[in-house]
């Protein structure tokens, strides 16, 4: 089952095939739980968020559009939104120091999950290379927003910078990343 494409596993999960469902969950659970943990800073809550993310994926599988991204990023987007909602229902949480240090590891590279497909590993390498083209401030602002669910105001507090600077780093960093990931677009991206 490991060799089955993600979209096929998602399709099988959606229509109730237990083997496809188990393979789909097994393949993605570490990424989903990891992202949820990075945002909510609580392992038990992260698993609740992850479980709900898989349920959402099962419910909304027919809405998945392969032209807009991979199954993995679609699932992680669902996870991020759920995790951010979960965090915002609580009191503001400090950024976990472990998560902060992991931002550098995320940018530089960590071990590849054995469950990751070659397609995902290639995409991860491409994104890391694109991140390498950003300055450190932009890179940290983007990763704090994307992987920790932090708002510009929260990033300004974490980094000790004005809110306007945090917003500028997010915007200029993402613009530059868009150009790097989509080389046809060369008219934007300078800070």
């Amino acid at each position: 089952m490991r060799a089955a494409p993600d979209d096929a596993l998602l399709a099988g999960y959606a229509v109730g095939d237990p083997d496809a469902a188990a393979a789909f969950i097994r393949r993605h659970q570490a990424r989903v739980c990891g992202l949820a943990r990075a945002i909510v800073c609580d392992t038990a809550l992260a698993e609740d968020v992850a479980q709900e993310a898989f349920l959402r994926a099962w419910r909304h599988a027919p809405a998945y559009d392969a032209r807009k991204g991979t199954v993995t990023t679609w699932l992680l987007t669902i996870t991020r939104n759920l995790a951010v909602d979960a965090v915002r229902m609580r009191r503001p949480q400090p950024v976990d120091p472990g998560v902060l240090s992991s931002l550098d590891m995320a940018a530089e590279g960590t071990r590849s999950s054995p469950a990751a497909t070659a397609e995902i590993q290639a995409e991860v390498a491409r994104v890391r290379m694109a991140l390498g083209g950003l300055n450190e401030g932009q890179r940290r602002a983007l990763l704090l927003a994307a992987l920790c669910g932090r708002t510009a105001k929260e990033i300004s507090e974490t980094e000790g910078i004005p809110v306007g600077t945090a917003k500028t780093r997010i915007r200029s960093g993402l613009m530059k990343l868009r150009v790097s990931l989509n080389p046809q677009r060369e008219d934007e991206g300078s800070e």
């Binding site: 496809a20 491409r126 994307a146 990343l177």
Partner: protein
């Protein structure tokens, strides 16, 4: 709540794409997007750059039993919503494919058995009834009743097709799977399904919408048609 203006949305576009805007500001910006193709395109493009960043999150293996909990929750959710996605088939259902194979195939197996009465060799099936909206299904059961081939397809623009074959564990073979479409023409090859350890799966995407699929056909290594089942009309 007032809709945001284009300059306001453009200023927030990156944060929207990253999911880092909350509350009224987010609601105001999102309410603007359906009516503004330019802002919608900008946010879509930035989302295309932001979403892959999620792949960089540190991985965390969940606690033991997580997979089972998700599967149980999925089954429970499916049971609560009979018109929604299919609940998962239980293991004991799968072990008796000609007895109770769950809600997906129950009606179909009975119908397939009627079709198969007297048939020898070639397994001819029919569509699986009682499925979620938008999902097309087909089922074939071998003449001996020892093997079951199921196919699911959905997608308005391009079809996702997922095929499973369950058979006795001692059966090992490669099967070529193809799909016919309405209007005739050359059947589209999905790929090769490898049967081993009692099962095999194959998934692929076709450049035709699911509603245009007519039937699934499975050939053995000698080119002999072994299973054929129409998708439901």
């Amino acid at each position: 709540m007032n809709d945001a203006s284009c300059p306001e949305v453009e200023a927030l576009a990156a944060e929207l794409a990253l999911g880092s805007v909350s509350g009224a500001e987010r609601a105001s910006a999102l309410s603007h997007l359906p009516r503004c193709p330019s802002c919608r395109r900008l946010v879509d493009e930035l989302s295309g750059a932001a979403d892959p960043l999620l792949l960089l999150a540190p991985e965390l293996e969940p606690s033991i039993g997580f997979e089972s909990r998700v599967l149980a929750a999925t089954s429970a959710a499916g049971a609560d919503r009979p018109d929604g996605p299919q609940p998962l088939l239980r293991g004991d259902d799968r072990s008796r494919p000609l007895g109770r194979i769950g809600r997906i195939g129950r009606v179909a197996v009975a119908a397939a058995l009627v079709l198969l009465a007297g048939a020898a060799g070639l397994a001819v099936g029919r569509a699986i009834d009682d499925t979620p909206e938008g999902v097309r299904t087909a089922l074939a059961v071998s003449a001996s009743g020892r093997a079951t081939c199921r196919a699911f397809a959905y997608g308005d623009r391009e079809a996702w097709v997922f095929v499973t074959l369950e058979a006795p564990r001692e059966w090992t073979a490669d099967y070529r799977v193809e799909v016919t479409t309405d209007g005739g023409g050359t059947p589209a090859t999905l790929g090769v399904l490898k049967l081993a350890d009692g099962g095999g799966t194959l998934g692929a995407t076709l450049d035709v919408p699911a509603h245009r699929l007519r039937a699934i056909r499975v050939f053995d290594g000698s080119g002999t048609l072994r299973y054929e089942a129409p998708f439901e009309a």
